[in-house]
Each structure stands twice: as structure tokens, then as C-alpha cells.
């Protein structure tokens, strides 16, 4: 028996900021959840189950926060499920929520992911409280140096991505960073943080949450009939690989490539560059855009940077990447993956507002975590059979 088709009928997110001191962390999560429910024309009472994801509990100093948040999310009397797969967790949260629908266990599931980074300190938590924490940038900088040398990409590629994503963010009312005068000059003159990564090539630290309402084929078709186009999941996969072993390649991680292949096979995608209209890729540091374009076979190996150089990934390009502004513009860590998945859904729903990619019918989203080891990927489309 094949699995039940799954549709996204509601998307919500918070206004992401360095410090959302105006809300409690429960209030923050509810802000995203109620927006997603409003978008789906539902209330908490309509939801059968809640799936919640976030990065380490040490970030906020609340252990198993799904316990505290059960009533905040209207989950009393319902299943409340907690996912944690490092930085990819937001994506995995969406995939696990979809699994509830695809297995025909439930009809309407709320997926929520959040981080309230201002309650603690990410560098502290990443180092588990010890000194000389490398932070994510310190951990990833060597991967980027390897990519640059391998591909022969010029140094301005990273700056271009940093500018493009911040320009896209100006069109996204929810984005954290709004740098109206962003420019190549400004990026290249920003302080070097983790050589070769500069400050403006790095993601911010944000408070924020994202929520998505998923439903079955009947629910998706009902929304469509009501003039509220859903996004249909064509394929989804999560893959992981060990942290390190001799010869492991974190620049083109096999788990990333395999997850992409899983999804393409499920979706019937044989030419991702042509069949996919836009992508929301998890790019916390500018160079990851080139790395993940290659990791998902959108560009040939060593050629991803050329798409950037040729402005193909700009909002008006042939393959827009991160029209929302991406992780470079908003990074509530646990929610960052779900934001990618939700933004991709909004693109094919035609609901992305000012950063809508014209005519987007098929969208890719991915998130990754830990030492480039955990990958979550999905492809969503405006119909169940977009390829005829």
C-alpha cells in the first residue's frame, strides 16, 4: 500500500530578531503556530498531533521543552513529538510530521520549530560550556577553504551570495537582517571572523519560530477547492553519516547527495536544474550556496559557483536560491531548517509575497546539521503530478 499524499496548507513564522524580549519563548512559538493555523483556516482544535523540533536544549536551558510547550501549542490530549537532529532538525521536523500523514495515522499535523538564542549563547552551547569554542563558523571554515581551492572559484563568490541573500531579505517582512545598503564592498570590508569567512558572510543569531500545517490528500484538495493552493510533498528524505573517518568529504557529503537522490527518485526528477524552479538551501555561510548547488546535482561538481557568478541564483535568475533571504538573513537555529521547508512550500503555493519567484511550481528545500552530517531534504510542488 502506497503512502498517503501529504499537503502543506498553512505556513507561519515569527518576525525574527536578535532578541525577542517582548515575548516568552512559549509566546514566540505560539506566534508562529497561530499564524500557520490562521493561514490554514484552522484552530488548535483542528490539529490531531504536534511535532516540535529545536536544536540543543542547552541553548535555552530548558530540558525537553516539548513538555512545557504542550499546552502552549494546544496539544493537550494529543500526541506531542520531539525531534532533534542538530541543525537539520527543522527539516526533519517537517519530514516526521509528514510521516504522520503519509502513514495515515493522522489527518492534520502541526509542525513547529524554534530557537530563542537570546536566552543563552550559541557559542557557549556549541562548546558545551567549555572555553575556546570554535562556533559553527570555525568548524565549517576549513570545508569552505577546501571548496574554494578545489573549484578554483574566485573569492567574490562568497561576497555575492552574502549580498544577494540580504537583498532578498529586504523583500521578506519576517527576515532578521535588513541591511538596506548591503554591497560587495561592505561584505569584503567586514571583519574576518573565521578565515576565509567574513562577518557579513555569516548567519546572524536569531530568536524565531516557524510552523507548518500538514494534511492528507482530502485536506489538500479541499484547500485547493477553496482557493487556497496547497504545496504537495513529492519526495522527502533524511540521511546521516558519521562525524569523521579518514577520507570523509564534508564538501560533497555523501549523506547530502543520497538524500537528494532519494527525493529526486520519489519525485520523478531526472534533471533537477530544469525540473526544479527554486530552492531554499541551508546556507549559514555564504559559500554553502555553491556547495549545496553541487550537492543536489543542480550544478556539476566544481561548477556551482558559476551559477552564482552568472546571477542565475538571484531572485530574477533562472534558478533562484533562497528568495527569502535564507539562513544568512535569519537564523533561529532549530527553526532555520523548517523555514527553508516552509518557504519552499510558500513558493509553490504562490504565497511568498514580495519574494515570490514568478511561476514557481516545484521547489527544493534542504537543511543540514552537525559536522555536515545530518541532511533533510524535500521537494514540494503546486500539484501532485507537475511533470505530467
Amino acid at each position: 500500500m502506497s503512502s498517503e499524499p501529504c499537503a502543506i496548507v498553512g505556513v507561519g513564522q515569527t518576525h525574527h530578531k536578535s532578541r525577542r524580549h517582548d515575548v516568552s519563548f512559549g509566546g514566540l512559538v505560539r506566534e508562529a503556530a497561530t499564524r500557520a493555523l490562521d493561514d490554514a483556516q484552522m484552530t488548535f482544535a483542528d490539529i490531531d498531533a504536534v511535532v516540535i523540533g529545536k536544536a540543543p536544549d542547552l541553548f535555552e536551558g530548558v530540558m525537553k521543552p516539548e513538555l512545557y510547550l504542550s499546552d502552549a501549542l494546544g496539544a493537550v490530549g494529543k500526541p506531542m513529538f520531539r525531534v532533534h537532529t542538530a541543525g537539520s532538525v527543522g527539516g526533519t521536523t517537517a519530514i516526521v510530521a509528514a510521516s504522520h500523514i503519509q502513514a495515515r495515522k493522522h489527518e492534520r499535523v502541526l509542525a513547529v520549530a524554534f530557537e530563542k538564542q537570546s536566552e543563552g549563547n550559541a557559542q557557549f552551547a556549541l562548546g558545551s560550556g567549555r572555553g575556546a569554542s570554535l562556533g559553527a563558523g570555525g568548524a565549517f571554515a576549513p570545508f569552505i577553504r577546501a571548496y574554494i581551492q578545489r573549484s578554483g572559484a574566485p573569492e567574490h563568490i562568497g561576497w555575492k551570495v552574502a549580498v544577494k541573500d540580504r537583498q532578498n531579505a529586504l523583500k521578506n517582512p519576517y527576515a532578521h537582517l535588513k541591511i538596506a545598503d548591503i554591497s560587495i564592498e561592505k561584505v569584503k570590508e567586514s571583519p574576518m571572523m573565521w578565515e576565509p569567512l567574513r562577518y557579513l558572510e555569516s548567519c546572524p543569531s536569531s530568536d524565531g519560530a516557524c510552523a507548518v500545517v500538514l494534511t492528507n490528500e482530502t485536506g489538500g484538495r479541499a484547500a485547493a477547492a477553496d482557493g487556497r493552493p496547497p504545496a504537495w510533498i513529492l519526495g522527502a528524505s533524511s540521511r546521516s553519516e558519521p562525524p569523521s573517518f579518514p577520507g570523509r568529504d564534508p564538501v560533497r557529503p555523501a549523506a547530502c547527495v543520497r538524500a537528494a537522490w532519494d527525493v529526486y527518485e520519489q519525485a520523478g526528477i531526472t534533471n533537477p536544474r530544469e525540473q526544479i524552479d527554486t530552492a531554499e538551501l541551508y546556507v549559514p555561510f555564504s559559500w554553502h550556496e555553491a556547495i549545496w548547488l553541487e550537492g543536489h546535482d543542480i550544478a556539476p561538481v566544481g561548477e556551482g559557483w558559476r551559477m552564482i557568478d552568472d546571477d542565475e541564483t538571484a531572485l530574477t535568475g533562472s534558478f533562484p536560491v533562497n528568495p527569502s533571504g535564507g539562513v544568512l538573513s535569519s537564523n533561529p537555529i532549530g527553526a532555520s531548517g523548517l523555514l527553508r521547508f516552509a518557504e519552499a512550500a510558500n513558493q509553490v503555493r504562490g504565497a511568498a509575497g514580495e519574494h515570490q519567484v514568478a511561476g514557481a511550481e516545484v521547489a527544493l528545500a534542504m537543511a543540514y546539521g552537525a559536522n555536515s552530517q545530518y541532511f533533510s531534504t524535500w521537494v514540494v510542488a503546486s500539484s501532485l503530478q507537475p511533470f505530467g
Partner: protein, 353 residues
Amino acid sequence: MAPSTDIAIVGWAQTPMTRRTDLSETQLLLRVITDALEPLGLTRADVDFTCLGSCDYITGQAFSFVSNLDAIGAWPPKRDSHVEMDGAWAAYEAWLRLQEGDIDIAVVTGSGRSSTGDPSLIYPMEMDPFFLAPLGVDPVTFAALQARALIAAGITSERAMAEVAVRSRRDALDNPDAQVANDGDVDTLLAGDYVREPLRRHDLPPITDGAAAMVLATGDRARRLRERPAFITGFDHRTECHNPGYRDLTDSPSTRIAAQAAGLGTGPVEIAELQAAFTHEEALLRRALDLGDDAVVNRSGGALASNPIMATGLARMGYAANHVFAGGRRALAHSTSGPCLQQNLICILEGDA
């Protein structure tokens, strides 16, 4: 809704349950996953999906689960997930995933070493961060308040609780994997001091280091792997509001709803493995589940005999599966999380007729 695909537990294993292990969590998982697969003639390469359950605050390190990937043989990369929950919820995720129909075999684990920190200092961190955690309110305190409520309501008594403790640890004498097993005496136990009135030492679970791993398979594959697989015929979990002060502590509505959704009421169960880490919880859960007097509860010794946090619930599923493997017809497993049984999970296992 009925599951679209038959899914069964075909095997499981647990590490020795000890007060303190010298092994890392990854080492525990390396051993226990092998121990679960080998008797089935399977290797890690046969596993299509893994889901691990563990908790950073138990381990004392952010991203502690990442090194546990080293135990699953994730090369080539595996379809994989992790829950910051007991391994029983990892099993739930795998059960959903297998029903999508494209894969056959999943391994799920639960692992934790509670010996590394002081539970009375760690557990307040899972409580309401504004009103409860700052007071250092730990789950034992709330368990005591729940026990008091149950005693006041006539649902249990200090003597009945001691009887649960004696029975559980006496049953554990027959369980070579149990950590605490002895032939105690109710009156002697009742002469002991209170830890948190009305709870005495014997009403509390031991501190246990350990891990469990379980193999799940889809219908036909399951029947080829084991003569008598334990089919999951119902699986559900529910939560309640967090602050126990807002709840009726003499009831466990989330257990009742989960049991109903899992189809418990369609027939009797022969055995029930309940994650009743405190003695009084058994009486409450029995009531919520409407278990008949003929249902044997926690023949393994239960969580009072070994309590490997994050694996205790998965082990309940394992013991319930053992009953079906050995010819039993229908068994129930229960897991829980949060103060005063906030979240409850019910799994019904059945053998082929």
C-alpha cells in the same frame, strides 16, 4: 485509523543494567545494536532506517547524540532520525516511517547514563522555566504529591505501594538483566524513612546506566526473520498540560486516550509492561488502562528494577515483545515522560493467531 502496513518487533537487546558503567553511550549502543541484529542473521547493512532516542541533559553535552551515529554503521549514509525522547518514541517514529511502504527494516535505540549527574539537579530543568525550575522542583517532589493525592483518593496506600516494590523486585530475581532484585518484606520497607513523604526509598526507581536496541520489520519480512513476530496492532501517545498544579493528579487522561486510540479495549492483554518508575504510578495506570486482575503487570521487575532513562520505555516494549515471541497472544507496553506522567505512550503487541 488502522495501520496500512503490518509492522512487527522482531528482536531487541539491552545492555547490562548497572548503577554506573565505564562505557560511553556510543560504546553501549555499538554493543546493543549488534546484540539485537545478530540473532536475526542481520547486519547493519540490512537496516533501512535508524532512529535513536537520547537526551543531551542526561549526557551533559550538547549534540551528544551525534557521536552515537558511530554506532549505527551510517556508511554509506543511512536514513536516520533522532528524538530527544525515550527510545519508545523512536520506535513510534520508525513505525510511522515503515508504514510508508518503501523500506522494510528499522533499528531504534534508547540510551542514557543517568549516573553521570545528580538527578535532583538535572530534572528541575525540564520543569516550567519560570515558576518551577527556579525553585529546584524535581519530579520526585511531584511524584510525592501525586502519591499523596492517590492515597487520599483511596486508589493506593503506602502499604500497597510497598507491595508493588516487593513484588517488582522479587519478580526481578527471575530476570537476569535486572539491576535491583531482592526478596523484600513489606513491613520492613514501611519502617524506612521518607525520601519525600509519602515516598520511601523503595518507592523510587534505581539510577541506571543502560541502552536498548530494537529491530522492527514490515509484515512478510518480519515473518521470515522470526517465527512469531510481535505485531504492533496499536500505537499511540498523548500529552497533558505541563504544570501538575493544573491537573487532577488522581487521573491519567492521556494514558486513557492513548490506550483508546491504540485499540486496547478490543480485548484483554495477558501482560502489561508499564513504565511506572514510582510505585504509586502502577495503580494509577492500571485504572486508566482498565486492566483486568488477570493481566500480569511488570513481570520483568519494571522500572523499579532497572531504570535506564531514555531506554526504560523501549525496554518495556521489548519485554512485552518477549511475551509474544514466547507464544503469548496480546501484550501492552507503556512509556512516559515529564512530571506526574505528563506524556504517555501505549503500544499493543499481538502474535499471529
